[in-house]
């Protein structure tokens, strides 16, 4: 099931260690606690999936790691992000720039708009290499062609002179991957890399990512709302809800025995082939809580089918229920 069977998690020292990360947005209507005490680690060579609904803070977590959030609206108010033992939140901007695109790279959701329409593909892939490795233009363009070949774009050397509009959506996402991998980063953050693509193209891109990951041995942080993508590519999964981690487990364990009622709800709402036409698709009732208001107990309690009095008053801690399987629920694992 899992496409990647390299180093098991948590044996080597983690490449990325996020602890108690808190990122708040300061808007006119108050403070939104988009990420509220998130902790996780990524081991070298591991693929970690982060899954959750829209607005659960998964993208903000990723952007916080690279410190790419708009500075006037948001601030990382607490916690620590250690990458290869170095505290990223303490670095100044030039030092941070030397890490971005070089040691940690990012792939964005929209391949259609993440490329500059007036620069050639080759120029854009070469950008990171010229910045971080000081290569001259000719070397950088050769490298760009090499990267395009790596992401399986036919006739790569010729296509470096093409513009983004001459590429299809899937090809552009390949270009984005080529850009991200051009400096051989140790950590690749992919924020919904396949969401904007056709289903057949999604499969190709995921397969390509898995292969390239194995070839380069980079760690990957894959953000998605698609549990299918998680199942295909990841080794370990974090489930986020309302800016918090609610469950964390190895991928097989999570799909076999989800502990948190939210995770179960997510899994129940996946349509199944052969489920019968009459069967109504399960949904999680209610909406994500307003993150501007303080949450007294468990953030999922208002939507939870098994919530009891304690859930509404006391926030459940994220504790290990089985080996390597953590969940933040007072009644984790109980049948609904």
């Amino acid at each position: 099931m899992s496409g990647l069977e390299t180093a098991p998690a948590a044996t080597a020292a983690p490449i990325l260690e996020v602890s108690d990360l808190r990122t708040h947005f300061f808007t006119r209507d108050g403070v939104t606690r988009a990420v509220d005490g998130v902790s996780f680690t990524v081991a070298p060579g591991e693929t970690l999936g982060i899954v959750g609904e829209s607005g659960c803070g998964k993208s903000v977590t990723a952007l916080s790691v690279l410190r790419l959030l708009p500075p006037r609206l948001s601030r990382i108010v607490g916690g620590s992000v250690r990458f290869e033992g170095q505290e990223l939140l303490a670095l100044d901007e030039p030092a941070m720039r030397r890490i971005r695109g070089n040691r940690i790279a990012m792939i964005f959701q929209e391949p259609m708009t993440s490329l500059n329409p007036v620069l050639t593909i080759g120029d854009q892939i070469a950008e990171a290499v010229t910045i971080h490795q000081g290569k001259n233009r000719a070397e950088a363009m050769r490298h760009a062609a090499e990267m395009l070949r790596l992401v399986r774009i036919p006739d790569a050397a010729k296509r470096t002179g093409d513009y983004p509009h001459q590429f299809s959506g899937g090809m552009r996402q390949r270009v984005m991957i080529a850009m991200a991998l051009s400096c051989s980063p140790r950590l690749l953050i992919a924020d919904e890399p396949t969401t904007a693509l056709d289903v057949t193209v999604q499969a190709q891109i995921l397969k390509l990512m898995v292969e390239l990951k194995q070839a380069t041995d980079a760690a990957v942080m894959l953000i998605t709302h698609d549990l299918g993508v998680i199942a295909e590519t990841c080794q370990r999964v974090i489930v986020m809800y309302a800016g918090q981690v609610v469950e964390q487990a190895e991928v097989v364990e999570l799909f076999d025995a989800p502990l948190h009622p939210y995770t179960r709800g997510l899994m129940a709402s996946i349509p199944r082939i052969g489920g019968g036409r009459k069967r109504r698709l399960a949904e999680i009732p209610g909406i994500v809580p307003d993150l501007r208001k303080p949450i007294a107990g468990c953030p999922f309690a208002p939507r939870c089918p098994m919530a009891r009095a304690r859930c509404r008053t006391e926030p459940p801690p994220l504790i290990e229920h089985r080996l390597g399987h953590l969940a933040a629920c007072w009644y984790a694992g109980e049948a609904a």
Partner: protein
């Protein structure tokens, strides 16, 4: 790219292909071609003025206020093609020499205002802290009428062409700044800018590589409008006596000096006035055509 393949396939047919493509371009963008052609003719005439006309300062009181005589137009000895003024000076020569000043002022003001406005606009749009201060200064500058500013500058100093250009440029700069800033504000929110930041590009590089090219199209269009308005302002200032010194033939000076005679000798005003109108029309046609061509949202046919 199409050119290359065409040329490789049949080198002999290339001129024909180029002519054909120009024909298509002209049919699709008539205003660009007409405006550019008119402007080119004007520029060539202005450049050649010392070679093809009599000296514009040469006064001949015997020949004063002669009406235009277009017979033997190309006879270099004739001094009354467009008639003569109250001092017997050649209006044809003075009109063509006036084009030199007008075009020089128009083009330099457009170039200065665009260059200065571009730099300030990029900074203001990208560095938001800089923005608040700069835009208030620009608002202040915008409230100064250019004619008043020019008169004040000329009164303070001894005047001259360069000072005139500065005086016309200053009030035009805020318009460019606003335009560039608005483009920067929209471009910086586009995902490819985030993508550039995420690969570690420094701000300077992002501005030059990713933001600057997006401002070029609207800036070219704005530059043509600035050019047209600068030509008009220069003529207005010269007419008021606050522009170029009166001994230099400019259209504004010519019109001003013939105020007393224009009932008897309307050609004194007609030729510089017509030249002024034609140049401004040409520049505006070019600007409109470029706007339609460069902004796909406004173009009816592409």
């Amino acid at each position: 790219m199409a050119d290359g393949t065409l040329a490789e396939a049949a080198p002999a047919e290339r001129p024909q292909g180029a002519a054909l493509r120009f024909g298509t371009f002209a049919r699709r963008n008539p205003t660009i071609v007409i405006g550019a052609a008119m402007l080119c003719v004007m520029v060539i005439l202005a450049l050649l003025a010392p070679l093809i006309t009599n000296p514009p300062m040469h006064a001949a009181p015997v020949d004063r206020l002669k009406p235009p005589d277009l017979s033997n137009f190309f006879d270099p000895e004739k001094r009354d093609r467009f008639g003569t003024d109250n001092l017997g000076r050649d209006i044809f020569a003075r009109t063509l020499h006036g084009a030199r000043v007008s075009l020089l002022v128009g083009l330099t003001v457009a170039a200065f205002a665009t260059a200065v406005g571009l730099v300030i606009g990029l900074m203001a749009g990208y560095y938001r802290r800089f923005d608040a201060v700069v835009m208030r200064v620009m608002d202040g500058l915008m409230s100064i009428p250019s004619i008043l500013l020019a008169i004040a500058l000329i009164a303070l100093t001894r005047g001259g062409l360069f000072l005139l250009i500065i005086a016309i440029t200053v009030p035009e700069v805020p318009r460019v700044v606003r335009l560039v800033r608005s483009v920067v504000l929209t471009v910086r929110e586009r995902p490819f800018v985030d993508a550039a930041i995420s690969v570690g590009s420094p701000s300077r590089k992002i501005i030059i590589r990713h933001v600057l090219p997006m401002t070029v199209a609207p800036l070219i269009v704005q530059a043509t409008y600035i050019c047209a308005s600068a030509i008009l302002i220069e003529a207005g200032l010269s007419f008021l006596g606050a522009g170029v010194p009166p001994e230099i033939p400019t259209w504004g000076n010519m019109i001003a000096q013939s105020r007393l005679f224009f009932a008897r000798a309307p050609w004194l005003i007609f030729f510089p006035g017509a030249a002024l109108a034609l140049v401004v029309l040409a520049v505006n046609l070019l600007g409109d055509g470029l706007r339609d061509r460069l902004d796909p949202r406004l173009a009816r046919r592409m």
